[in-house]
C-alpha cells in the first residue's frame, strides 16, 4: 500500500492560536484545517492559512462531504473543496464515515448509519466517485456514535475495513472516537484497532471527550484521558509511523497545554521505538 510519508506530530489549526503560531513558531510539525472554514472567497482565514502553509505541511479535514448520505453527492461543495486543495496543496484530504443530512437539508453533524451491506456498497461507490473527482485518494475517518442499530449486519471495524479495501481509500483512525463508540456500544476498542487494515492508516486523531457516566460524547473540549492514551499506544504499536495530532474545538487552553499533549505522544513513541530496538538487538 502506497501511503504519503508521515508528517510527525500535528495540531488542529484554530483561529484562537493563529497569532501565537505565527509569532512563536512552536514545535508543531504540521497542521490540520477544517476544510469548510477556509472554503471562502477571501479574508483573514485564508490569509492566515496561506502564511502558515508557507512554513508547515497542512492536511485538509472536512465535515460536510456526507459520504454515507443517500442524497446525491454535492458537486458544488466538491468543486470548492478541490479549489482549496489546489490552493494549499495538502498532504491529503479527509472526511468521515457519516452522513450530514438528506433532502437538501444539512444538520451540521456527523450522523450514524446502520452497518449493513447496503450502506457499505453505497459509501464505497461514493468514495470512489469522490476520489475520481478530486483525483486523489481520500482519507476516511471513523466517527463517534451514540446510537447503534438492530439492522446492522456487521461490526463497525468490519465495515471500515471492507469499505477501505473495496474503495481503495486510506484511513484516519480517530483513537478517541474508537474509545467513545466502544464505551457507548460495548465493543472492545483494541479489537477495533486490530481489525482495521493498518497499512491504510495514515493519520491518528487524539482528543478529549465528555463522560456522562452512561455514555460519552465526543466534545473535543478536554485533555486526552488516560484510557485514550493507552489506546493510542496500542494503535501506535500496531500501525507504526503514522502522522498523529491533537484536536481541540472548545474550552481552549493555552497553546502550551496542547504542546504538552504532543510531547506525550512523542514520549510514548520514543518508548516504543526504544523497546523495539532493544528486542531487535
Amino acid at each position: 500500500m502506497e501511503k504519503p510519508p508521515p508528517l510527525g506530530y500535528g495540531l488542529g489549526l484554530r483561529p484562537i492560536y493563529y497569532e501565537e503560531i505565527l509569532s512563536s513558531r512552536p514545535p508543531i510539525d504540521w497542521f490540520e484545517i477544517i476544510s469548510e472554514n477556509y472554503m471562502l472567497a477571501g479574508g483573514r482565514p485564508l490569509a492566515m492559512l496561506d502564511r502558515i502553509r508557507a512554513d508547515y505541511p497542512v492536511v485538509m479535514h472536512g465535515v460536510s462531504m456526507s459520504l454515507a448520505s443517500t442524497d446525491p453527492l454535492n458537486f458544488d461543495y466538491l468543486r470548492q473543496l478541490k479549489a482549496l486543495a489546489e490552493r494549499i496543496q495538502p498532504a491529503w484530504v479527509s472526511d468521515h464515515v457519516a452522513w450530514t443530512g438528506v433532502h437538501g437539508v444539512t444538520l451540521h453533524d456527523l450522523l450514524p448509519i446502520p452497518y449493513t451491506r447496503e450502506s457499505l456498497a453505497h459509501i464505497v461507490e461514493r468514495i470512489q466517485r469522490v476520489q475520481d473527482f478530486l483525483k486523489r485518494r481520500l482519507v476516511v475517518e471513523n466517527a463517534s456514535t451514540y446510537v447503534s442499530f438492530v439492522d446492522s449486519e456487521m461490526s463497525e471495524h468490519e465495515f471500515v475495513r471492507e469499505m477501505a479495501e473495496r474503495a481503495d481509500c486510506l484511513l484516519l483512525l480517530d483513537v478517541n472516537n474508537v474509545f467513545v463508540s466502544s464505551f457507548n456500544h460495548g465493543f472492545d476498542p483494541v479489537a477495533f484497532i486490530d481489525g482495521v487494515p493498518a497499512d491504510r492508516v495514515v493519520q491518528f486523531h487524539m482528543a478529549g471527550h465528555t463522560n456522562n457516566e452512561t455514555h460519552r460524547v465526543d466534545t473535543h473540549d478536554q485533555p486526552v484521558c488516560d484510557e485514550v492514551w493507552a489506546l493510542y499506544e496500542h494503535a501506535r504499536r500496531r500501525c507504526g509511523d503514522v502522522s498523529a495530532m491533537i484536536e481541540r474545538d472548545d474550552n481552549y487552553p493555552p497553546l502550551a497545554e496542547l504542546l504538552d499533549e504532543l510531547q506525550n505522544m512523542r514520549d510514548i513513541d520514543a518508548r516504543i521505538s526504544k523497546e523495539r530496538a532493544l528486542s531487535a538487538a
Binding site: 469548510e36 472554514n37 472554503m39 471562502l40 472567497a41 477571501g42 479574508g43 483573514r44 482565514p45 485564508l46 490569509a47 460536510s64 456526507s66 454515507a68 448520505s69 443517500t70 454535492n74 461543495y77 452522513w99 450530514t100 443530512g101 438528506v102 433532502h103 437538501g104 437539508v105 444539512t106 444538520l107 451540521h108 453533524d109 450522523l111 448509519i113 446502520p114 449493513t116 447496503e118 450502506s119 453505497h122 451514540y146 446510537v147 447503534s148 442499530f149 438492530v150 439492522d151 446492522s152 464505551f183 457507548n184 456500544h185 460495548g186 457516566e213 452512561t214 455514555h215 460524547v217
Partner: protein, 280 residues
C-alpha cells in the same frame, strides 16, 4: 429498512426534537450496554443539533442578542431553526438568511430595530470573508489629467455594504461588542429617525463607519458607477443637503484612506452605472 428511509426518519426526528413520535426510530436502536435510555442517546443528536445552530447565530449576532435580551433572542433563534433548516454544507452560511426571515415573519417583521441590527450584523459577517482586493491610495489620482477628473468613476471593495438603519443601531452594536459591555444595551427606538452606515473590510477585519446623509448619497452614487462630476451635479439637488465639491472631495479622500476604493477609471459617456444600496 432501506438506508434512504432510515435517513429520512432519523433526520425527521432530529429536526423535530424529542417526543412521542420518536418511537419508530427508538425501536431501531440497540439497547445501551451501560443502561442509558435510548431516548437519552437519541437526544444527543437532537439537542446537539439545536445547540450547534443556535451557537452559529449567537456568534454572528451579538448585537441582536443584546437588544432583544436572551429570552426573545432565543425565541427568535428557535423560530429560525424550525422554519429555515440549513441547506448549505458550509455552516458559515446558516445565519445569512436571518434578516430576511425576520422581515418576512409576522412575529418579527414589525420589530424594525431588531431587523436593522440583523442587517448590520450580516453585513459585518459578509465583509469578513468576501474576495480579496487591493485598495488604492489617493495617489492613484495622480495619474489622471485634471481635465479627466469630472469623468472619474470608482470601483469599490466587494466587501462594502451601504445600509440605511434605524437610528441607534450602530451605537447599540458598539456597546454590545465592547469589552466593557453594560448589563443591558438599550434597544434603539424605531421611528422616523434613520442613520446610515458603511460596512467593509480593512486589514483583514470587518469595519464600519456611520455616514452623514450627504456622504451616504455620494457614496451610493459613486458605488453605482457615477462619475465624480455627475455626483457633484446630482448632489446639488439632493434633499439630504447640498454637497459642495469641496465636501465631496473630502469624502473621496476618506474613501481612499479607509481602503474602500480598488479601482479608478475615466468613465466614457456610454458606460452604465449600476448597484443600489441596501436598507433596513
Amino acid at each position: 429498512m432501506k438506508l434512504a428511509d432510515f435517513q429520512s426518519l432519523f433526520q425527521q426526528r432530529v429536526l423535530a426534537g424529542s417526543g412521542e413520535a420518536d418511537k419508530p426510530l427508538l425501536k431501531k436502536l440497540r439497547p445501551s450496554p451501560r443502561g442509558a435510555a435510548p431516548e437519552t442517546l437519541l437526544d444527543v443528536y437532537q439537542t446537539g443539533y439545536r445547540i450547534r445552530l443556535a451557537d452559529f447565530v449567537s456568534q454572528d449576532h451579538p448585537g441582536l442578542r443584546a437588544i432583544l435580551g436572551d429570552e426573545a433572542f432565543d425565541a427568535l433563534v428557535d423560530d429560525y431553526i424550525d422554519q429555515c433548516p440549513s441547506r448549505d454544507p458550509n455552516a458559515r452560511w446558516f445565519t445569512t438568511g436571518l434578516p430576511d426571515f425576520m422581515r418576512e415573519n409576522a412575529r418579527w417583521r414589525d420589530d424594525a430595530a431588531a431587523v436593522s441590527m440583523a442587517l448590520f450584523e450580516r453585513a459585518m459577517v459578509d465583509a469578513f470573508d468576501t474576495a480579496d482586493e487591493t485598495p488604492l491610495t489617493v495617489q492613484a489620482l495622480a495619474g489622471f489629467a485634471p481635465d479627466d477628473w469630472a469623468r472619474l468613476a470608482f470601483e469599490f471593495d466587494p466587501s462594502l455594504t451601504l445600509l440605511e438603519l434605524v437610528a441607534g443601531t450602530i451605537e447599540a452594536y458598539g456597546a454590545a461588542i465592547s469589552e466593557e459591555t453594560p448589563a443591558n444595551v438599550d434597544k434603539p427606538a424605531a421611528g422616523e429617525h434613520i442613520e446610515y452606515a458603511a460596512v467593509w473590510r480593512v486589514d483583514d477585519e470587518s469595519a464600519y463607519r456611520q455616514l452623514e446623509p450627504d456622504e451616504y448619497v455620494a457614496l451610493s452614487e459613486a458605488r453605482a458607477g457615477h462619475a465624480f462630476g455627475d455626483i457633484c451635479q446630482m448632489a446639488a439637488f439632493q434633499q439630504a443637503g447640498e454637497i459642495a465639491p469641496e465636501r465631496l472631495a473630502q469624502s473621496l479622500s476618506s474613501w481612499f484612506e479607509d481602503g474602500m476604493i480598488i479601482g479608478v477609471r475615466v468613465r466614457e459617456d456610454d458606460d452604465q452605472a449600476s448597484n443600489t444600496p441596501s436598507s433596513a
